[in-house]
Amino acid sequence: MIEGIAAEWLASRRNELNRRFERTRHRHPLLSPDAVLAALSEILPPLAGPDPRCGDLLSSVYDLVLLHAARSTFASRPWIGCLLKDVFPKIRHLLLQKPATLPAALSNAVENMGTRGARFVDGLRRLAECVDDADLLVDAGVLLAWRAGEARLRRSALATAERLPGRVVLATLELHDLPPAAAPVVLDALRADGWHEPRRLLSDRTLETLQQASPSEVEALRKVVAQVPEIPLGQWRVVGRVGDFSGFGGTFDVPPLVLDGGDRHVLYTRCGAQDFRIDADAFGWVCRPHSRLDLPVRSVAAPSKFGRMVTRLTMSSRAAVMLLADGTLTVGKESARLGALAASSSFALLPALVAAARSDSHRITIVAPEREAV
């Protein structure tokens, strides 16, 4: 039973709202009036209030309820319900700034995030306390989506983050316990190397120093973290595994091959006749079909029975980079055996990163320098 302002609003627009319901049911005959009423009774009252734009907000949320009830999204994506029931009341002040558009946009964003939507909703809940402007919330949403694993947004998110207050940046990156001064340092570090969790980039001592650091000290720190340190091959470690078997929600029907191209956060692979682009970093990965690429496949060489030295001597001048089946990686004059790369079928050497695929796995192993906290 809905009471109060929400009930008055429903009563004042009864005929029009009923028509909207009927129009939806015309297309979705299974739309249950009871389900819609139940959802409305939970969702509308916390959003109602004396504010002048409250009617617009209730109207757009009413349409959202119809939309999701008609498409059974409340059941198939429970986090949509969380968004409307838990988060919307918390960010009501922001929704009232753009009542006609913001609720729909956030609902779309959560849907577009797929299974990562739940994490996106959690992020919105966190942001409710530190954001007081609707446009800021929209911008921070890009960062949130990236943090939730939408790796394609990495570049846009980093660009957007420049415009956001430090506390908002840290809240979206789940680093709300760090001092605001750490935000630009974290962003610089992530820009240079997205393969390490930002929390592990700065030591406790650095964080303490940052509390009272002068601008010049912060600037100096930013310069340090903005570079990927040169670390011997022997200290490279597995920093991630991306891609998956289509049967487990991934994209690959058969184990893929890694194509030799891309950059530290964009890989290209081939599975059967189809090429794929994988955007990936420490926050997650997204794999999408790509038009056919003219990139070579670096195959893995068998080790010479006469030993590694002979194998190196027989390398062609072109192959300044070589990976042996036993996991021995040679880059120029440096060589090290990395167990994680053993039995690889193809690999790509990218700036300070090796991506390798195996013939018995649908996942691609990412090996990169192990960074220590600054």
């Binding site: 939806t24 297309r27 757009s60 349409d63 946009a105 849907e111 038009s291």
Partner: protein, 530 residues
């Protein structure tokens, strides 16, 4: 960002990309997509910079989903061979297209809109001809009131002043010369979408004024002229015979680039009609603003369309097809005049000339099927439309399918059938006398088969001569010119020996003769220079 939308909301625009394959191949991931989805329609604050072809596709899907109930996919496109089903009776074959296919009644006006051409809707009353034309006006950014006011309704009393404007009465009285008379031009003349309803009810004299405007882009009253911007024209007529109250003048008919037929209503879609009645929705009044084009966007669309290339294999097939219709070996002794124009100017018909034997199989030879050939104007129209269709479909260049689907619509009112051609007397071909779209589609198919049989993609000797000539004559030494002329003569001798003078051979021979003349003139000049 966006206002929330109900499922099948009449203002719902299809989610982008409408052609996913084209999107993945051509465009990068767009951050704005994060906030777009089923509950949204774009808002200026976060609207992504959609490609204009995508916008036009969204307009198409909005029209077919919400505005015009036309559940037909008669412009079929396939990526792989479609599944087909043959029905009893006369053996109708139904194909299930494997690539996005379209309804001609909606697509063709949209292509006209994008390429600034002239489209005639024909069909019975109440089939949506005027409504579709009005929609095009709204898509061009005009309000529904502006568009309705701008529609020119043909009627027997329509004067030139009704159509174009009036001289100011004060000036008529006081003017010392014609130059002093100012004209109050009608507003529709300056619009980018022009609609003339029931043009076959306009008196002949007024039709002439309309012709000047439509063909030359200006209006004239009392020695005063007004330039009209390049625009898309939509004319309607209740039948396709040019009947109506007045006979439509030939020149006006000839200026129409494409004729779109209205399709009948499929009663299986009565529920959609019912919904329209119950909700009292008038589509032209609720066109979503995200599919409305600004003047700058329309200019940009036109620029992009013109840039779409027609690759040589496609262009060659089109040349081969177009060459078939104008040729008649019996029309003259000179190769230049072996055309149906010669017959027409002599006051004869092809059927009377074609009755004589010319040594060709008149069932297979396409030249026997028509009384006339293709005009330059209709070929220009086709080139414009195939580029627009390829652009609309998200293609980077024109494909053979684009030409195959577009040619029937551009030519079916331009080519006049020769009723006595033995082709139509073949089993199953009688229907082509009635269904001219299918006829031209079939003719194009046969032409392409013949082109493939002759293996002209690989064995077209004109290519080398073309390429050599395209490099220019400057600095080409005398020996080289003589060698090229010799090659032309050798090739002509081979052609004369190997084949009859078929339509495409006539085109080749004329081109070889052209090159030979250019080279011989150049050679004469070289010799004179010493």
């Amino acid at each position: 960002m966006s206002t929330p939308r109900l499922p099948r909301d009449p203002q719902q625009v299809s989610v982008s990309p409408t052609i996913p394959a084209a999107e993945t191949a051509a465009r990068e991931f767009d951050v704005d997509k994060l906030y777009r989805g089923p509950a949204s329609a774009p808002d200026a604050s976060v609207a992504p910079s959609r490609a204009l072809d995508e916008k036009l596709r969204q307009a198409y899907y909005w029209i077919v989903n919400h505005a015009v109930i036309t559940p037909y996919y008669d412009m079929e496109f396939n990526e792989v061979a479609p599944a087909t089903f043959r029905f009893g009776g006369v053996g109708t074959q139904v194909r299930l297209p494997t690539a996005p296919s379209y309804s001609s009644f909606v697509l063709l006006p949209l292509l006209t809109f994008a390429s600034r051409k002239r489209c005639l809707f024909i069909g019975g009353p109440g089939r949506g001809k005027t409504a579709s034309a009005v929609l095009m006006g709204v898509l061009a950014g005009y309000s529904i009131q502006e568009v309705r006011r701008a529609v020119q309704h043909g009627q027997p009393q329509m004067t030139i002043a009704d159509l174009l404007g009036n001289p100011l009465p004060k000036d008529l009285v006081e003017a010392a010369s014609m130059d002093d008379i100012r004209i109050a031009w009608r507003k529709w003349l300056s619009m980018r979408v022009k609609i003339v309803d029931e043009y076959n009810r306009i008196p002949t004299r007024t039709q002439s004024a309309l012709l000047t405007l439509l063909a030359d882009g200006y209006a004239e009253i009392l020695d005063q002229t007004m330039e009209s911007p390049e625009s898309a024209w939509f004319l309607t007529a209740n039948d396709d015979m040019g009947g109506g109250t007045y006979q439509v003048i030939e020149a006006l008919k000839d200026r129409i680039d494409i004729v779109v037929k209205t399709l009948n209503f499929n009663p299986r879609f009565l529920s959609d009609l019912l919904l329209r009645v119950e909700e009292g929705v008038r589509p032209e009044e609720i066109v979503p603003r995200e599919i409305v084009f600004s003047a700058d966007e329309l200019d940009e669309v036109y620029r992009q369309v013109l840039k779409v290339p027609i690759p040589r294999p496609v262009r060659r097939r089109l040349e081969f097809f177009a060459s078939q219709f104008d040729f008649c070996d019996l029309a003259s002794q000179d190769i230049e005049y072996k055309t149906k124009d010669t017959i027409r100017i002599a006051g004869r018909t092809l059927s009377s000339v074609c009755a004589n034997d010319c040594g060709r199989d008149k069932v297979r030879a396409l030249c026997s099927q028509t009384e006339n050939g293709l005009s330059v104007r209709s070929l220009l129209a086709l080139l414009g439309f195939v580029k627009t269709l390829a652009w609309f479909r998200g293609g980077r260049e024109v494909t053979l399918q684009d030409v195959g689907q577009m040619a029937p619509w551009v030519f079916h009112e331009k080519l006049v059938q020769n009723p006595t051609s033995p082709f139509y007397e073949q089993s199953g071909n009688d229907v082509f006398r009635i269904d001219r779209i299918a006829w031209i589609r079939k003719a194009f198919e046969l032409s392409c088969q013949e082109y493939a049989r002759l293996d002209l993609d690989r064995s077209d000797p004109i290519v080398e001569i073309d390429e050599a000539f395209d490099r220019g004559l400057e600095g080409v030494p005398e020996e080289e010119v003589r060698s090229r002329m010799n090659a032309i003569e050798t090739h002509l001798a081979q052609l004369a020996k190997a084949t009859k003078l078929y339509a495409h051979v006539q085109n080749d021979v004329l081109k070889l003769k052209y090159y030979h003349q250019r080279y011989s003139n150049y050679l004469r000049w070289l010799t004179w220079c010493g």
